[in-house]
């Protein structure tokens, strides 16, 4: 029979390294159902029948964070055979706090004390035998980084699981023990003996998520109240105090800290890196390097090569030759070349740049600097409901929104992450620059303020969205305490960095790839088929105005009349922007009768300028900057949100915001520039007022986690 080992431990305890060491390449990465928390499962090396489940890194089993709820739901409902609890030996006190909670679950626990090499190097000493006696569980000393002791720990876990003894538990103070015993006696008889202590403690803590799972909930409120009055604290705090009190007493006997006067290397690094004066310049330099390498130089070179050479000069002609040689039908050739190959190219084209970026992200995370990024930038970003770590997605987003959205993975807090995903693409990315150049060139004499204002609008959209969204129902339910560990700096291993890079890159190809490919093919169909010369069929590129897309464009064009550009050509151009934003310029070229135009569309400036006013053009620009991003970015959003509902919410929000802002720009702009005052102006003013209300109305942050993981876990 297969044995299930759950790997549990604090963040930064070396859990991922241990998991990689134990399972090798034998891993399945996914998400816990319905939530964005990553789920990893693997088979123990050399043991086909031993499955290791990597739980999210957590500090506690409280009901307040998504990771904690996911982890404890797994432990309670799936009941693994044994818990392998990884504990950071250099940070024993706080790590044991989670251990005391794991031991109450009635599942055998094996403790692996990690970083023993560093503990010894520091001159500290942990008396393992004493600790084993006091905690009542098997303990193995390991170094996950060096790989020492890890197989022994896993084998110990397997042997404990087959022996099937449940872990003995610690004792709190006599007063509390009496109350817990009373509660245990009131519990439903259906609850197994070894789990009673867990349920008793959770009931005492008034943990309603656990109470909901129980068939019979005993009435214990009076007892809790009495205890709270006697001990002058709330019940959750009583338990927490007792746990740490217990840990202090255990550690006092088994942990000897060497008398250390001087600072550790990590302390010395931190004194410089988060120094009050140096922190910001150092931060700027680090960000510059990340941006310069992954966006400006290496990233762009490989991306351009993939797009222009590999998927421009090498693969398409090769496939075309094959197709021609086998006399393939013209429509099928077009489907394969312009639909499928172009679609695959769109997916693959982003990967090299992304991999370069992911190497940086993995390094920054693993070495401990990422936590400092949040520490340094928190003050600015938290006002908009974002995390300090949101800086990196936004920065990368100014190059390309796809890796930008993917970079949001480093943000732990679910709410901050979703907010970042939704707002990152507001920053004008590289592909939006040709649109800016087109509008600036055709209408504003190439004035620099157009580009500057585009970035300003992007930042304003992020700031306002953050403030508005954090007050909405979708976000208000999530508490976001910023109480964050700043882990000690250490050098990550090359394997771990590369593995993290590959996992993220692969998940983009797998999860985002399908949606990008499908959308590209659908749009290819709409663009290349239509009614020409009296019959339905495939069109030449220049006949775009006869395509299905053009018909659709004429139908939806009136929607954009209030924005000042109700011409179907504009609508079609905006839609083709979904493939890639720079396509907007090319589409204009075709629609105005040019097969090829320069990147900034200089050939069509004259015709374009004649077809609408400057204000309307600016409104068109704003709409294209803020509305739904390209399919690749939508795919990335889908991947990171891990939910269709959230993806639609994100895209819908972006498009509605784009519409509202463009409407106001056009209507109010026209009124100011002498276009007269009309119904449109009134509507625009009303929109502005509504916007201001959303921005400034008061709200209260919730202290409860509303996501019901229980429901989704079964789905």
């Amino acid at each position: 029979m297969a044995i299930k080992i759950a790997l549990a431990g604090n963040p930064n305890s070396g859990k991922t390294t241990l998991f990689n060491g134990l399972t090798g390449s034998n891993q399945f990465v996914g998400n816990w159902p319905g939530v964005t928390v990553e789920k990893k499962e693997g088979k123990l090396k050399g043991h086909k029948d031993v499955v290791i489940m990597d739980l999210p890194g957590i500090y506690s089993l409280s009901p307040y964070t998504l990771e904690e709820v996911v982890a404890r739901n797994y432990l309670i409902t799936e009941r693994p055979d044994v818990i392998l609890n990884i504990v950071d030996g250099t940070n024993l006190e706080r790590n044991l706090y989670l251990s005391t909670q794991l031991m109450e679950l009635g599942i055998p626990v094996v403790m692996a004390i990690n970083m023993m090499d560093i503990v010894e190097k520091n001159g500290d000493h942990i008396d393992i035998n004493q600790l084993r006696k006091d905690l009542g569980c098997e303990i193995v000393e390991i170094s996950a980084l060096k790989g020492t002791g890890i197989m022994k720990a896993a084998e110990k876990a397997v042997s404990v699981a087959t022996r099937n003894t449940s872990a003995p538990v610690h004792k709190f103070s006599p007063e509390l023990e009496n109350i817990l015993e009373d509660i245990e006696n009131m519990l439903d008889a259906a609850i197994p003996e070894e789990q009673k202590r867990f349920y008793a403690i959770k009931l005492f803590e008034r943990d309603d998520k656990i109470a909901q799972t129980m068939k019979v909930v005993p009435k214990v409120e009076d007892m809790i109240k009495k205890a709270e009055n006697a001990l002058d604290d709330d019940s959750e705090s009583i338990i927490t105090n007792e746990r740490y009190g217990y840990i202090t007493s255990v550690i006092g006997k088994s942990y000897k800290r060497s008398a250390r006067g001087q600072l550790s290397i990590s302390d010395k690094i931190d004194r410089i890196v988060t120094n009050r004066i140096l922190a910001l310049p150092i931060f700027a330099v680090v960000m510059f390097i990340v941006y310069y390498v992954s966006v400006t130089t290496v990233g762009t070179i490989v991306t351009d090569w993939t797009n222009d050479v590999l998927f421009g000069e090498i693969i398409p002609p090769a496939i075309e030759n094959i197709l021609v040689s086998i006399n393939c039908a013209a429509w099928l050739q077009s489907l394969i070349l312009d639909g499928i190959v172009a679609g695959v190219g769109a997916v693959i084209g982003f990967v090299p740049q992304m991999l370069v970026l992911f190497v940086f992200l993995a390094f920054l995370e693993a070495c401990g600097y990422m936590a400092r990024v949040a520490f340094i930038m928190d003050r600015i970003f938290r006002k908009f409901g974002l995390s300090g770590k949101s800086f990196i997605p936004m920065l990368i987003g100014s190059g390309c929104g796809v890796p930008g959205v993917m970079a949001s993975r480093t943000i732990e807090n679910d709410r901050d992450r979703k907010m970042t995903i939704m707002t990152t693409t507001f920053i004008p990315c590289g592909a939006k620059l040709p649109i800016i150049a087109l509008i600036a060139g055709a209408f504003f004499d190439g004035s620099a303020w157009v580009a500057t204002s585009a970035y300003f609008v992007g930042v304003a959209a992020i700031v306002c969205s953050g403030i508005i969204l954090k007050k909405t129902k979708m976000f208000a339910g999530e508490p976001a305490p910023f109480v964050m560990e700043l882990p000690a700096y250490h050098m990550p291993t090359v394997t771990n960095v590369l593995r993290s890079m590959w996992e993220r890159g692969w998940s983009f190809i797998k999860k985002a790839g399908t949606i990008i490919l499908l959308s590209t093919i659908v749009l290819w169909f709409l663009m290349s088929f239509g009614w020409a010369d009296g019959s339905f069929g495939m069109l030449e590129a220049e006949q775009l105005d006869n395509s299905i897309l053009a018909s659709v464009g004429s139908v939806i064009a009136p929607l954009f009349t209030p924005l000042g550009w109700g011409d179907w050509k504009m609508a079609v151009a905006a839609v083709t922007g979904l493939i890639a934003k720079e396509n907007v310029v090319g589409t204009f070229g075709i629609l105005f009768g040019f097969a090829e135009v320069a990147e900034d569309g200089a050939e069509i400036w004259g015709q374009l300028a004649g077809s609408m006013t400057g204000v309307a053009a600016y409104s068109f620009l704003i709409f294209n900057l803020l509305c739904a991003p390209c399919f690749a970015a939508i795919g990335a959003i889908k991947r990171e949100m891990n939910s269709g509902k959230w993806t639609w919410f994100a895209i819908g929000y972006q498009t509605i915001l784009a519409y509202a802002v463009s409407l106001c720009v056009y209507q109010i702009g026209t009124a100011i520039t002498g276009g007269g005052f009309g119904i449109g102006t009134v509507v625009a003013v009303l929109v502005v007022i509504g916007f201001l209300y959303l921005l400034f109305h008061p709200y209260k942050e919730s202290t409860k986690l509303t996501v019901n993981v229980k429901k989704t876990a079964k789905a």
């Binding site: 940070n91 006190e93 706080r94 105090n241 004066i277 340094i376 910023f482 964050m484 202290t703």
Partner: protein
């Protein structure tokens, strides 16, 4: 009442009581700031918030708004 927010950098204090309730309070306690714990204020972030403290042998950062909930002496 003196709170952790009022303590200057480089000083050590002992926690008297935690005020507030719910998720933030539980989180602070889960991270090891409980009654009687020694807390050393290491530094303030370059922009003035949050603060970095040493507690139970490791580094923790928390916002001043949350530090205000922690009564110290």
């Amino acid at each position: 009442m003196q709170t952790l927010k009022d303590v200057k950098c480089g000083q050590s204090v002992s926690v008297v009581k935690l005020h507030g309730e719910g998720a933030v309070k539980r989180r602070i306690m889960d991270m090891g700031i409980t009654k009687g714990t020694e807390v050393y204020i290491r530094k303030v972030a370059p922009l003035g918030d949050p603060v970095e403290v040493t507690v139970r042998g490791y580094e923790l950062s928390l916002r001043k708004a949350d530090a205000q909930m922690i009564e110290v002496q």
